[in-house]
């Protein structure tokens, strides 16, 4: 007997009835069916069943149950979880974020300014470092272009010469089949006078020489002229755009004539676009190397006898560098000017800038230091943002509580706070981008960096910015988002004060880190400054103040005596001297072996006239015989004390054999410096020549004129120029001051000092912004406490001390951490100098004092305001 109700009716029921009613209704229907079967029989029960099922086709039964008991509530909640990028909620987040920014202008601007400055500066540094690390990658054959370096032993020290004689390169190319292409390049020998017409006659530097192959190998880009033929024949010169505009204006100068070194006309065969700044090959103009012997005696002499050419080889792709290096040793046999002991090495073109032999070994190190500083600044800026945001965040705990209470999920809150930091960082990013674009040329100039504007248009720059933006947004948003979204709604809505403590410890650590960094940098800046002042004011053994060095061309030998006499008359007999050396820039160096101690010495050899010693204030140790009696009639050889010490000569030198073989010792002077104080005084040999000597001007010389301290310098220079012009000069009037030249020796340190000053100011600024924010917040939170204290009789001073104490403790801790680190770092740096200061305690005390003073000043504004507030106001507000 089938006791089951009609299946079709059941199907129908299942179809229309709400799912959550099915079980009970069907159950009731089945139970009723059984009962009816027993009462009225199966057939009528089936009829009734159908009628009952159809009876449920009513709106109430079709709708799901809407009853608030716990079981169903959960089901309801699960159905209503919002997918995160819910457009309505997103709009709400945006408007809340903007309202937050708008409502707290102080905090928003502190946040954004801090981030903007930090980002702009660290990006700038990162750009510079990137620029430095990406030298010479753009050339078409950069990966197989090598420079030849010869290394020879002189005594114990190996000296490498990256410049070679012209024949070496051509022989190497002829004899080694793996060499595909040869480029010989020199950026010239000091100044050259160029002239296009009467009005355009200037002294130029970096007018170089090169093979025609430099154009394809270095990938030089032409604005005018034919790249294929530009340097293919002698007598051709290519100019950079800047130089071409200087001489020919905006017109196309190709085919025009340019007179080289007063006598030698060259044809302009091309104009180059600005050279990339990230290349070791830098020049203002290039003369075809083949024409060099025809450009006068001096150039011919250089060409024939000097090693002056950077020699680059482009190797075949399959060539092995070590094999070629071995072959280069055999090449030298076939040519003139050989040093049999020399070894040859190949250095890849991209490595030349930072890793070449003989390059400054600290180049890489200082880049890493810069990168570290950039990271520190970025970290400080992000930390600043985080600590300000979390401090503010506690103010928003109620919002978090309410959002959670009405069903906001934690993930949604995290999303919201991330969105807010994304907004802020994006704003800061846009600003820093603008700042960077606007200040890029200025910053380059102020810091004396050679960096191209073009860097800003390159992919890596934008990739860097994008990466920084993402990382900053994530880092800056992460902690606040997690902290804030973790608030328990019951706790924060009850108004318990516990939540105010959240993140306080972290913020303390942040503030300490910020101040440690800024105090450390402050100490570094102070040490740099003290060392620089020490270098500038140290007695060099030679009086360099108010001395003008007037450059005398080698072709002016006939007029020179007349000019000198005129200058002597004008400036006074004792104020004029002659030398062949550009003091404080580069002195000729010779390798000489001492007779007694058999030491190889690198000796600075300079030629001077007799008045040089008295005029420059150089002290004698042993005066030459008959020095006071009259003018010098023969060449005298004078050494400095260092030579005698190295040569092992004690006592009266004139009664002992000379330090070097074949030389006499006519006198000895007390040590004086003509180079930077990075090194100790080098051994020096001074040749004193008579007034009539011509050898002193063989390669050009310098007339040193000491100006009277009271003289108006521009007037004096004008008068000097008049005297010079009357002597029918062969070169334009050119001079330099010894003081300036000496200071230029420390250009690198000067730049470092400026950078550090900038960084110090910046980190202090960021740290102070952070401190100001924290102080403002701390005062806000404690308004009531301060009110109560005032009512109970606390003094203004007492409250200011109370508020400042916490932060000052952190600053003091920062001083303790920063001092040893800075001491260690600066001690390393000072090792570069042979003459250095001691880091005295007062430097640290001063830095600490400054930091404390600045911190106090920052917080005093808020703390005094809080302390002066009328307690009636602060206690009334509830």
């Amino acid at each position: 007997m089938p006791k089951t109700p009609p299946k079709l009716a059941d199907k129908l029921l299942r179809f229309f009835l709400a799912d959550d009613r099915l079980e009970e209704v069907q159950g009731d229907l089945h139970e009723e069916y059984r009962w009816q079967v027993n009462r009225v029989g199966e057939r009528r029960a089936r009829w009734r069943y159908w009628r009952d099922v159809l009876g449920f086709m009513k709106p109430f039964a079709i709708k799901p149950r809407q009853v608030n008991n716990t079981q169903n509530y959960r089901r309801f909640a699960n159905h209503s979880i919002t997918t995160f990028p819910n457009p309505i909620m997103l709009r709400n987040y945006f408007s809340i974020a903007f309202r937050q920014l708008w409502k707290n202008p102080l905090f928003s601007s502190l946040n954004i300014v801090g981030l903007t400055v930090g980002l702009a500066v660290s990006t700038f540094i990162a750009l510079y470092v990137w620029h430095e690390f990406h030298y010479d990658r753009f050339e078409p054959f950069a990966n197989r272009t090598y420079r030849i370096v010869s290394a020879s032993k002189y005594g114990e020290n190996e000296v490498s010469f990256p410049q070679l004689h012209h024949s070496f390169g051509s022989e190497a190319k002829r004899q080694i089949p793996e060499v595909e292409e040869l480029v010989r390049f020199s950026n010239g020998f000091g100044d050259v006078i160029l002239q296009s017409d009467q009005n355009h006659r200037f002294k130029e530097t970096n007018i170089g020489y090169a093979d025609a192959s430099i154009i394809p190998v270095m990938g030089l880009k032409f604005l005018y002229g034919d790249a294929k033929t530009a340097l293919s024949e002698p007598g051709r010169i290519i100019l950079t755009r800047q130089l071409a505009e200087k001489y020919f204006g905006n017109q196309n100068p190709v085919g025009k004539s340019l007179v080289f070194d007063k006598h030698f006309p060259l044809t302009v065969s091309g104009v180059l676009d600005d050279l990339p700044t990230n290349s070791v090959i830098q020049f203002n103009g290039l003369v075809s190397l083949a024409s060099m012997p025809t450009l006068g005696d001096r150039q011919r002499h250089f060409y024939e006898s000097a090693g002056f050419l950077s020699t680059f080889l482009v190797l075949r792709p399959d060539a092995r560098v070590s094999d070629i290096e071995k072959k280069l040793v055999t090449v030298k046999a076939g040519i003139k000017f050989i040093d049999m002991s020399a070894n040859y090495f190949l250095e890849a073109l991209p490595t030349l800038h930072l890793d070449a032999r003989g390059a400054q070994s600290d180049a890489r190190q200082s880049l890493y230091i810069l990168l570290t500083v950039a990271l520190v600044i970025l970290t400080l800026a992000v930390i600043n943002y985080i600590s300000l945001t979390t401090a503010r965040a506690t103010k928003r705990s109620r919002e978090v509580g309410i959002r959670k209470a009405i069903g906001g999920q934690r993930s949604e809150l995290i999303g919201q706070f991330f969105l807010e930091s994304f907004l802020t960082t994006t704003l800061a990013f846009a600003l820093s981008l603008a700042l960077l674009q606007a200040l890029f040329p200025w910053a380059n100039q102020a810091l004396n960096l050679q960096m191209d504007n073009r860097v800003l248009a390159q992919g890596p720059y934008w990739a860097l910015m994008l990466g920084l933006w993402l990382i900053c947004s994530l880092l800056a948003g992460g902690y606040p988002a997690l902290l804030l979204s973790g608030f328990r709604p019951a706790v924060v809505l009850k108004g318990s004060t516990n939540w105010r403590q959240s993140g306080v410890g972290v913020r303390r650590v942040f503030t300490t880190v910020q101040f440690t960094a800024s105090i450390g940098l402050l100490i570094c800046s102070l040490v740099l400054y003290t060392q620089m002042r020490f270098l500038r004011t140290r007695n060099l053994g030679l009086n360099r103040s108010q001395v003008v060095a007037l450059q005398i061309d080698n072709e002016m030998t006939p007029q020179f005596t007349g000019l000198r006499n005129a200058v002597r008359q004008w400036a006074g007999e004792g104020n004029v001297a002659t030398t062949n050396t550009r003091l404080f820039s580069n002195a000729m160096t010779m390798f000489m072996k001492t007779e007694k101690t058999k030491k190889q010495l690198m000796v600075n050899a300079i030629e001077v006239d007799k008045p040089f010693f008295a005029m420059m204030g150089i002290q004698w140790k042993n005066r030459p015989q008959g020095w006071e009696k009259g003018p010098v009639t023969r060449e005298l050889t004078v050494y400095n004390q260092t030579v005698l010490k190295e040569a092992g000569i004690n006592g009266n030198p004139s009664q002992q054999p000379a330090p070097f073989k074949g030389q006499s010792t006519d006198g000895v002077v007390v040590d004086f410096h003509i180079n930077s104080l990075h090194g100790a005084v080098s051994p020096m040999m001074l040749t004193v020549v008579s007034d009539t000597s011509r050898s002193i001007l063989a390669n050009g010389g310098y007339l040193l004129v000491r100006l009277n301290p009271q003289t108006n310098v521009p007037d004096a220079l004008d008068q000097l120029k008049q005297l010079y012009d009357q002597a029918h000069p062969t070169a334009p009037f050119d001079y330099y001051f010894l003081d300036d030249a000496y200071n230029k020796l420390y250009a690198k340190e000067e730049r470092l000092m400026r950078l550090f000053n900038g960084f110090t100011a910046l980190t202090l600024l960021v740290a102070c912004l952070g401190l100001l924010g924290l102080m403002t917040f701390s005062v806000e939170v404690r308004t009531k406490e301060i009110g109560v204290r005032k009512v109970l009789g606390a003094s203004v001073t007492g409250i200011v001390v109370l508020l400042s104490k916490d932060f000052l403790k952190l600053v003091l801790l920062a001083i303790l951490i920063a001092s040893p680190i800075a001491w260690w770092a600066m001690n390393q740096w000072l090792q570069h100098f042979a003459y250095k200061i001691d880091m005295a305690w007062w430097i640290f005390a001063l830095a600490g004092g400054l930091a404390v003073a600045i911190a106090l000043l920052t917080i005093s504004f808020q703390s005094i305001k809080a302390a002066l507030m009328n307690p009636v106001k602060s206690l009334r507000s509830e």
Partner: protein, 119 residues
């Protein structure tokens, strides 16, 4: 006195629930049979379900699922209980009726009281 309106049929269903919940029998079929038995009306299952739904909306009954039984094909019953609010509503209705009935049975009593009071 303010209370939500309770229809006559709803009142009967509510009363039936109140009676049957003691034996844990306050579910659709049982309520239907009880009402048929007591009132003699022909009541259908869907009407009872609809009334219970309305009562639950008004908060006068609450429900939970009971144990499954064999005669229902292993399906559970929804067992109803009267809430405190429902119980008070029933009492209010009863009181109103009682007060009217007492006045109907002793008409002089209530009027006389008032007159005497006035006088």
């Amino acid at each position: 006195m303010k209370r939500s309106y309770l229809g006559e049929f709803e009142e009967i269903v509510l009363l039936t629930v109140a009676v049957l919940e003691l034996q844990k029998q306050a579910y659709g079929v049982a309520i239907t049979h009880e009402i048929i038995e007591q009132t003699g009306r022909s009541v259908r299952l869907n009407q009872i379900h609809a009334a219970l739904d309305r009562l639950e909306d008004k908060g006068m009954v609450k429900s939970e699922m009971g144990e499954p039984t064999a005669e229902r094909g292993g399906r559970r019953k929804r067992l109803f209980t009267v809430t405190a609010y429902g119980r008070r509503t029933l009492q209010d209705i009863q009181e109103v009726r009682v007060s009217f009935w007492s006045r109907l049975l002793n008409p002089l009593n209530s009027i006389g009281q008032r007159d005497w009071g006035m006088g």
